[in-house]
């Protein structure tokens, strides 16, 4: 009869193998894209509309704590970086639009907010946690993925974006 220690070992092992899941979307790979309505006026927006620009796609919801912290800092970020070459797109995954609208009334932001209550885009981009952001370069490839958020990350995010902007400017100076 297996003594309790070995039974415990097998149970823990079982648990461990239940929890492996590869991340489908990888840095360097193409960005899956999306076609979603704006939260404010319902106009349809596609990722392809921003070809040639560096795009920062952020998946968030009003009920997620770290997301609440990130939005005001993204607002500063958008103001500090040239709009012509860089665009933040925040995809709201609240099931109930009213929750998102109530939040944005308290924390107004000027960059693009799209609404995806069914989470179709979140499945396509296989978002692993809330929040998750994808840095997409001007050719539509994923340059970086940021899982979770803490205020001190904003420095590194800005650093990566600037690096992309410099390399884009260098590759085809207009």
């Amino acid at each position: 009869m297996l003594n309790s220690a070995t039974r415990l070992f097998w149970t823990l092992l079982l648990w461990a193998c239940l929890h492996l899941q590869a991340l489908a979307v990888q840095p360097g790979g193409p960005a899956p894209g999306f076609e979603l309505p704006r939260l404010d006026n319902g106009e349809t927006i596609r990722l392809s509309d921003f070809k040639g620009k560096v795009v920062y796609v952020d998946f968030w919801a009003s009920w997620c704590g770290p997301c609440r912290q990130s939005l005001p800092l993204y607002e500063d970020l958008q103001k500090r970086l040239p709009v012509g070459q860089f665009q933040i797109i925040a995809i709201n995954l609240d099931e109930d639009r009213k929750d998102a609208e109530a939040f944005l009334k308290r924390h107004p932001v000027s960059y693009l907010i799209l609404s995806d209550p069914e989470g179709i885009s979140a499945s396509a981009w296989s978002v692993p946690a809330m929040p998750t952001s994808f840095l997409v370069d001007s050719s539509g490839k994923i340059a970086n993925i940021y899982i979770g958020f803490e205020p001190s990350h904003i420095g590194t995010i800005e650093h990566d974006i600037k690096a992309l902007l410099d390399s884009t400017a260098a590759s085809h100076p207009d």
Partner: protein, 73 residues
């Protein structure tokens, strides 16, 4: 006596873990995050409850490490 019982409980917890449950995506947890769905929404209320019942009943436990202090009679 308690160790054997504790082992059977641990096994049961594992069975709950293995029980097939719908895959809930990270962005589908809005309902679970609502304030009135919290496991312990009001720590001061649960601490005064624990204190009241522990000093009036023979049973105790189940809400985290209890602070010291009798305050009972």
């Amino acid at each position: 006596m308690t160790l054997k019982r504790c082992w059977t409980v641990l096994l049961l917890l594992t069975l709950i873990e293995l029980s097939a449950c719908a895959e809930v995506q990270p962005w589908e947890r809005g309902r679970l995050a609502k304030p009135h769905m919290a496991l312990d929404a009001d720590p001061l209320l649960s601490s005064i409850d624990a204190h009241t019942y522990n000093s009036k009943e023979a049973a105790s436990g189940g809400n985290g490490p209890a602070g010291g202090g009798c305050g009972c009679n």
